[in-house]
Symmetry: C2
Subunit: 337 residues, 2 copies
């Protein structure tokens, strides 16, 4: 019976080939512990000769840790989330980790079952964009969890300063001279939806009470293209008597839907109505006309989140990342032609 099987080489095979103990091989694997150069060289050669690859499962069983971070998103096809996923993956790879991806489809139970699955797999940490407000309340986790964009349970949240971002838009539209404004809100059962709306509405009201009066219509949408189109249409059809000159939307997708809605009614943007979004997804600069919006710095959001997971020293706490107003072609002073 040949001791050499056609299976992959193990640490034992390497130890034999190098004429050392498995402990020594393990130590050169770990890099930290000092091993005499001569032995180290022999071990390295044996590993190369045998095409040795460490067995991750065995290591995970011993150390109760694995180079893996979990990422849970409501919907990977949402361009903002896919942008975020990309950045999270980049940050994970930088740290020598892989990422496991799961979709909650906006459902809390699906979400928590995925979290449990990640925990079962001994992930190093979990990044989650919560499925809905109030999800994840009951959860206890042995590893760091950090929520991004939408808060999960009582875990720290890394998010854009939605309120301030929305204020930027309010200031901008008011300064342009708009006094008949509509706001298409995101879902009010999400914190993001509420913060953006509150930031916008409060600021507009404040401006209106100090200076010129402003009429403000608030409409409810989801975050997607279709509801943006539908709501904008109703808004613009209905406004024959008291026309709205500007629409601020809670997301770029809503705004892009609104662009469509306006177009279908034969209205020109920005001549007849200005439209402003939020997020600055890739598409925002490509639609016709290019969309004025608030840029979320996804790379920073991802980096902060991963720092929170990997920096054991740092106290885990929520953090806001500022949004930036990006002015493009979908906005102008009212009545401009």
């Amino acid at each position: 019976m040949n001791s050499k099987k056609n299976n992959a080489a193990t640490i034992k095979d390497v130890a034999e080939a190098a004429g050392v103990s498995v402990g020594t091989v393990s130590r050169v694997l770990a890099k930290e512990s000092a091993v005499k150069p001569a032995l180290q060289a022999r071990v390295l050669k044996a590993m190369a000769d045998l095409d040795y690859r460490v067995n991750i499962a065995a290591r995970a069983l011993r150390t109760r840790q694995i180079d893996l971070v979990g990422l849970i998103l409501p919907d990977i096809t949402n361009p903002f989330f896919s942008q975020l996923a990309k950045c999270v993956e980049v940050e994970a790879v930088k740290r020598g980790h892989c990422v496991m991806l799961a979709s909650s489809h906006g459902d809390c139970e699906t979400e928590s079952s995925h979290i449990q699955a990640f925990l079962d797999r001994s992930v190093r940490g979990i990044v989650v964009v919560a499925a809905a407000d109030g999800s994840g309340q009951a959860l206890k986790s042995p590893v760091p969890i950090v929520s991004v964009d939408r808060r999960f349970g009582r875990y720290p949240l890394i998010a854009t300063d939605h309120e301030k971002g929305a204020e930027l838009v309010a200031d901008y539209l008011y300064e342009l001279g708009h006094r008949h404004i509509a706001y298409i809100a995101g879902p009010q059962d999400t914190e993001v939806g509420r913060l953006r709306r509150d930031g916008f509405v409060k600021r507009i009201r404040a401006l209106g009470s100090r200076g010129d009066r402003v009429t403000l219509k608030i409409r409810q949408g989801r975050f997607d293209y279709n509801s943006g189109e539908r709501v904008a249409r109703k808004l613009l059809e209905a406004s024959a008597s008291l026309p709205v000159t500007a629409i601020a939307a809670a997301s770029d997708q809503l705004a892009i839907g609104a662009l469509r809605g306006a177009r279908d009614l034969g209205l020109l943007v920005p001549e007849d109505v200005s439209i402003v979004g939020f997020d600055d997804i890739e598409l925002a600069s490509l639609v016709v006309p290019r969309l004025t919006t608030v840029r979320q710095q996804t790379d920073l959001l991802a980096k902060e989140a991963m720092d929170l997971i990997f920096d054991d020293a740092r106290k885990p706490r929520s953090q806001l990342v500022s949004g930036e107003l990006v002015i493009r072609d979908s906005s102008s002073s009212p009545g401009y032609s």
Copy 2:
């Protein structure tokens, strides 16, 4: 010393609590093997009482398998790929598996290092959209690998019938009466780019040699928005003398970029120029005007790929999924007003 630690319960704890051997617990875990109902009930109760969760790493070490499939994409922010990722995730969850996501960023070395990382983690199989033509040639894998959309090495490929899809577009434009046509090709170092171009060009030439002559301009783009805009602009500016009445693009992103380019030149779509895409990403039905395109059935692509990974019985082999022409508002007969 208390035998009860604050660590999670193991199979041994469950065995003790239920008064059976660990083998028996393992058997009820496996479900297959028959265990007497009375014992089974005791074990189940003990598991519930102790909030027992099986240790995946230990199981993986023993069985050399883990409920994990790998997914490698050139770029998750590409809407077609993110759609595909969503479908793959859904199919994986159906089969009780998690998915690991990695981005190759179009780089072959990054790609192969991710493949290796997946293999090291004992994934059940890998789905990969190749970074570039010819990538993955050298690779040997102990688990099934299947490529989707862009072939990886000599592994089976599940893809839309790009050639036939492109022919659909050629037939459609010709029948509408277009005789001055441009094609914006995808990268020719990708099979997809070549197949779509060849399908389109050959069919147009065939039609042109049998019936009315057709002038066909072929331009080179990548698959993204920006190159579509740039190329379309040059094409339409240059065509003052011999105007092009229709542009077929190798992807929706190209086509949407072309829409922008046309718009910036003051051209109306479809009145001045028809534009047709390929893929049917979500956005295609939301841009202004709605884009005529060829729909790729991502759900089917994902399902076939996963079937290939999980159906050990089935002979792994490539398969084409048909594309469907979706006619919307960006195309019409030439000279239509």
